[in-house]
Symmetry: C2
Subunit: 337 residues, 2 copies
DNA sequence: TTGTATGCGTTATCAG
DNA sequence: CTGATAACGCATACAA
């Protein structure tokens, strides 16, 4: 039925090992033999059986991208993954991981323990889950983390410089005259959220702008969170003249809330986000934001993983990429009182 | 090194076949033996080698979702895929397919011909590519299409009723007093685009609203297309009082253009989309749109594929799901002249 | 209810 | 440069 390496060998009148050599581009094959084998392969339409190769090499040639939930950030990650996926020899598996579902745990556990994947890229906030960490350690499967919580040890990771990005944006807002800047914060165990808050605080301090804890609004980094926080926060006695969303999603929620309250942006209040997700350039006004280089981060993470799998020492195992401001229409100078 | 079925058999003092039976939940195993084997498995930490199983069964236990590019629609598809992926025994591979890149072709070709995947879900507009079709036919790999161009033959597909959805929305706009309704059309070879245009035309006809070819604006179904078309179209002598975007993306582009031109929505002009993508509820005003049940479509498509792979006859092989209107703030009654 | 023997299609070893 | 042969770990007829 299916044509195997034996058939090719018979057709080309050589041993299967020689066919194998040709298929795998090994050296020490006479040119004449190589051509004869190539012909045989074409004539018979031979395609190597990947399962056999995997079995004998104990490799799956699959890497897994682990994602927590399906949000806009995750979509951006997946976009890039798709984009590069066809370029290398590994297949890319996507897997969601919800620690609360035991089925999800089992699935992932099987994936790793049965060696169905050679390595993983872990996206936040999967890395905070103890079960996953235990699994990764005990199974000794290689992995690279994206923006992980814990950056001690020798585990490879790639991340954007959230602290620096938040600092830059806060500084910019201050330079535009804003003194009362609300910050939409995210989940407490999310490293990204923590760093961005610190960056915000650091800039305030540097410019001697008093920090007001009442201006740190919990948003969970999503649309609804940003919306609710803004609705609530703008009702305070002394509302801010700028809102800095720790994530684009939250900032877009804030934008929506302000529209609903008929508070004009940026005339009355400025709004900024963090991420520079595709959505941020489609709002009106365009969302000023911090470019968090997701695409490069994903690319680097996959590169490192592939290096490790190939026993190459990666150029760098721990990468922190700088963020940049992207100013659009949603931020302006502080309005006169 | 690694513990195999033999080790378990030795430990449990039985044959490997018996271990195999226990592992695969086959009948005809004495309860006592089963327990002994279970103990051995636990004691030794045995995990079946998936590659060996795959080799001997000639199955990969992997299904592939084929996507064309990385847009918001694709993100919605992936979200759902992720959401259900951990529930079944197959691993999910995502693969992009750009017919113009030969590398992309090679990758896909290898994936299918090397039987690295047992089946595929094809999303639009991948299905219009002749190379892919040829590949799918000759390789005899099972697949299910989502919203395909060609619906003849016996190839399983799942789609939303684009014609009906567009009809409903156009009707609604007419009933709100609109007579001049622009339609943002998509790529000509995109079945979705064609059907939505027909639905639009049919409603106009039904209500005896004259069709004006100048009101069909090319948008490519994306943000930029919608933006450009609107900028251009609104400059005409007799501009429309409503814009019906054949896709949410295009409609969001239109919304942006109108904001930029300071034409108030919905006071001066109504805007509607098609898709009900997550983005459509985050614009201001909220985008009135047609709910295209992507999630259900994906779910059904995967179900059908799994049925086929398990040699079960699917409940239905060709499914057309109705669309529903979702009215939000962006559409209102026609303004007085 | 249990076991034996064989094959799946490669890659790897080591001798020619 | 080439080839015979042994793994790889499991499933499955076929026996017992």
């Amino acid at each position: 039925m299916t044509v195997t390496i034996k058939d090719v060998a018979a057709y080309a009148q050589c041993s299967i090992k020689t066919v194998s050599r040709v298929v795998n581009d090994e050296s020490y094959v006479a040119e004449a033999t190589r051509l004869r084998v190539q012909d045989a392969i074409n004539a018979l339409g031979y395609v190597p059986n990947i399962s056999a190769r995997r079995l004998v090499q104990s490799k799956s040639y699959v890497i897994c991208i682990l994602l927590h939930e399906a949000g806009f950030y995750q979509s951006a990650v997946l976009s890039k993954v798709m984009d590069i996926g066809y370029q290398f020899d590994y297949d890319i598996l996507i897997q969601s991981y919800f620690p609360v579902h035991s089925r999800s745990k089992n699935k992932l556990s099987g994936l790793i323990r049965e060696r169905r994947v050679d390595g993983l890229v872990i996206t936040p906030p999967c890395d905070v889950d103890p079960f996953l960490n235990e699994l990764l350690i005990t199974s000794r499967v290689p992995y690279v983390q994206i923006t992980p919580l814990n950056r001690t040890g020798n585990i490879p990771y790639v991340t954007g410089d959230d602290y620096q990005g938040a600092y830059l944006m806060t500084e910019r807002l201050i330079l535009m005259g804003h003194w009362r800047i609300a910050f939409l914060s995210g989940p407490r165990n999310h490293r990204t959220s923590i760093d961005r808050l610190y960056g915000y605080k650091a800039a305030l301090e540097m410019y001697r702008v008093p920090f007001d804890a009442d201006l740190v609004w919990d948003s969970l980094f999503n649309f609804d969170g940003g919306y609710n926080a803004t609705k609530l926060g703008m009702a305070m006695d002394n509302p801010p003249t700028a809102i800095f969303g720790g994530s684009d999603e939250a900032a877009i929620g804030a934008l929506y809330a302000l529209q609903e309250m008929k508070i004009p942006v940026p005339q009355k209040i400025s709004v900024c986000g963090f991420g520079n997700l595709p959505q941020s350039q489609q709002t009106w006004p365009g969302l000023s934001t911090v470019d968090h280089p997701v695409e490069i981060i994903v690319e680097r993470a996959v590169e490192i993983l592939l290096d490790i799998l190939a026993n190459r020492e990666p150029a760098s195992r721990q990468i922190v990429l700088p963020c940049q401001l992207v100013m659009r229409g949603s931020a302006g100078t502080k309005p006169p009182n």
